[in-house]
């Protein structure tokens, strides 16, 4: 594994909500998240809506303060920084948002949008001439023309807007870019263009990506490692091939199985259709959080939360799954595949 750049340990975040059906007012969005991101690596973050993906992204951007746990970025805790040090840290972690229509200010030109981060980080490109040259460079890097700097966002298509968003994230030469569903709002033909662009940028600049997506096909293509989230916890993590080919947690297996495949050989495959829906994070089930939808659940799953256990270490890389009864192989699932909803 590459040298760890960002290390997250036992991160917790609880939100207080006014009122819920059960009377519970504490919503535990993150419940002990531990992750590492290596330099130049892509970490895929997968999970259904409401599982805490975006809260994690916001916490890493320092838009939320964690209640517990630590974030270590090259040996320092960003939440302990102040003033100039904090400013220089913020420069190094940037974000690309999901909706390219909502994330660009319609009253600014593309050039202004890309150069706006320098209004805060003044020392980066002090002279206007340097800035203008750099805007041109950045636009070229993302496949637009330097002359596009004068146009406003409305004049661009969805894919081109997302390119502007990527150029803005690159403006501060960050080390980590958090990509929150960067291609899910784009049409398929444009999605491939943007994925190629992100890949080229990573090759050229060696930047690390945290790639949040619900599209498993895309994650499999871009990520070196994958972390699967369920109700505020990471329930499985490991190398992409390892997790996709040999999922150990039943939820991961179900998620893989539920996502439609572009396979026209006509082979009917066994599909795990989970019962029910994601429980409310206000009232997570006791013990293992997945037990209410799991076909392997036993009494112990309600009583004790499973510890993350190493389920495979063939190639030296960790493959962790939080399950009392991790799956041996995907083929072992077949008898339970008909659990209908």
């Amino acid at each position: 594994m590459p040298e760890p750049l960002l290390q997250i340990d036992g991160l917790c975040k609880t939100f207080h909500v006014a009122k819920s059906a059960s009377g519970n007012t504490r919503l535990k969005a993150l419940d002990g998240i531990s992750l590492t991101v290596g330099r130049g690596e892509t970490l895929g973050l997968v999970g259904e809506s409401g599982c805490g993906k975006s809260t994690l992204a916001r916490t890493l951007m320092m838009l939320e303060t964690p209640d517990e746990g630590t974030v270590t970025f090259e040996g320092t805790n960003p939440f302990g920084l102040r003033g100039k040090e904090l400013l220089s840290w913020r420069r190094r972690v940037q974000m690309v948002f999901q909706d390219p229509f909502a994330s660009l200010n319609a009253r600014m030109s593309a050039g202004d949008i890309v150069s706006e981060p320098w209004a805060t980080h003044r020392s980066l490109y002090p002279s206007p001439r340097e800035r203008q040259a750099r805007v041109g460079e950045l636009l070229q890097m993302v496949g637009l023309r330097p002359s596009d700097a004068r146009k406003s966002p409305q004049e661009f298509s969805g894919g081109q807007r997302q390119r502007i968003g990527i150029a803005r994230a690159l403006a501060l030469n960050p080390d980590v870019i958090i990509l929150d569903e960067p291609v899910s709002a784009l049409d398929l033909s444009v999605q491939a263009q943007v994925l190629n662009l992100l890949n080229d940028i990573q090759q050229d600049l060696g930047v690390s990506y945290i790639f949040i997506s619900h599209d498993l096909t895309v994650v499999r293509h871009v990520a070196d490692r994958v972390a699967v989230m369920y109700l505020g916890r990471i329930i499985e993590t490991g190398n992409t091939e390892e997790v996709f080919d040999h999922p150990r947690h039943p939820y991961t297996a179900a998620l893989m199985s539920a996502s439609p495949k572009l396979d026209v050989t006509g082979a009917t495959r066994d599909r795990i259709v989970l019962k029910g829906e994601l429980p409310s994070p206000l009232d997570p089930p006791s013990g293992c959080r997945f037990r209410t939808r799991c076909w392997k659940a036993q009494d112990i799953c309600a009583d004790a939360a499973p510890e993350p256990r190493v389920t495979a270490a063939d190639d030296g890389a960790l493959h962790l799954a939080e399950c009392h009864f991790p799956l041996e192989t995907i083929k072992g699932l077949t008898p339970a595949t008909t659990t209908a909803g």
Binding site: E48, S49, S157, G159, Q160, D187, L188, S189, V190, Q191, A192, Q193, L195, N196, N199, H214, L216, T217, V218, R220, H221, V222, A223, D224, T240, E241, A254, L255, S257, A258, S259, P260, K261, L262, D263, V264, G266, R271, V273, L274, E277, L278, A340, G341
Partner: protein, 354 residues
Amino acid sequence: MKTAAQTVLPGKTRAQDVVLSVRDLAVDIRTYRGTVRAVNGVDFEARAGETLALLGESGCGKSMTAKALAGIMDPVCDLAGGEIVLNGTDLAALTPKERLKFAGPELGIVFQDALTALNPVYTVGTQLGEAFRIHQGLSAREAKVQAIELMKRVGIPEPESRVNSYPHQFSGGMRQRILIAMAVALNPRLLIADEPTTALDVTVQAQIMQLLRKLREEGQMAVVLITHDLAVVAEEADSVAVMYAGNVVESGPVSQVFSDPRHPYTKGLLESVPVHVERGAHLKSIAGSPPELHDIPSGCVYQSRCPLVQEICRAERPRLLPVNGSATNNHSETLPPRPGRAAACHFSEELNNA
């Protein structure tokens, strides 16, 4: 394509029955910049017990086609021509008032966003029972009994108590089930599903698709599934019509279209999906973006993005014409040969050899 359905063997008619036949459908939108044609000469057929997918990217006219079929177009849209023959009746020739009789008993529609499609101030029981009250003249009490039955049919737990709940009290997946229940309440012959799972998570999407399959089988409905997701088409549909800039550019059985595309757009779409590609490897993509509706070129609609473009493509718009079945075409099944493939490309044969 037109005659294929009539040449079917008598024993096979049930599965092959053409429920909906759309011919040369055209829809205009009046805008400040002039009238644009959003749907242009669309042809397809939907058969009982089968799913036809209308596949395309945003703005290609697939939802507009669905709205035209259901007769619920926005006021700025006009049906500019064509036939919508549902069980022998041309819906396009009817007045809006006459069409109302078909909405429900003959044709049901499921929308993408269940929360906006349901009325927030009525209970789901009231909304589910509405179809029975209007079309069958049932009383409120009788309609409620029917509503509970419907909720059971679509797998909503505890229907007796949930019938009095409001839409906001249901989860996204359950709301979508309610919407599907409303669409199938009167056992229509045709179900139009407009991106029914786009707003849902994958595990819930799998549940909804399973439900739609079950209902289709039970009622021998013809399903028109509108989607942008190639994988959903591959898994759920029997045949597919690929749309681009308001035109059907390719159609045929899904297994054949996806394994042997005859239009460069279909081919490009299939190659854009990151499967069977090494991780991190360069993906093939389609350069550029679709044309604006008020700026559609006079020749082939795909000319600006097509790798095979020639002079004839700029001069003449290719018609949707039958193409030869491929070598992979499997005739060994007991079913009669499927209605043929069609593609709107001057070079569809060359694409096969490329």
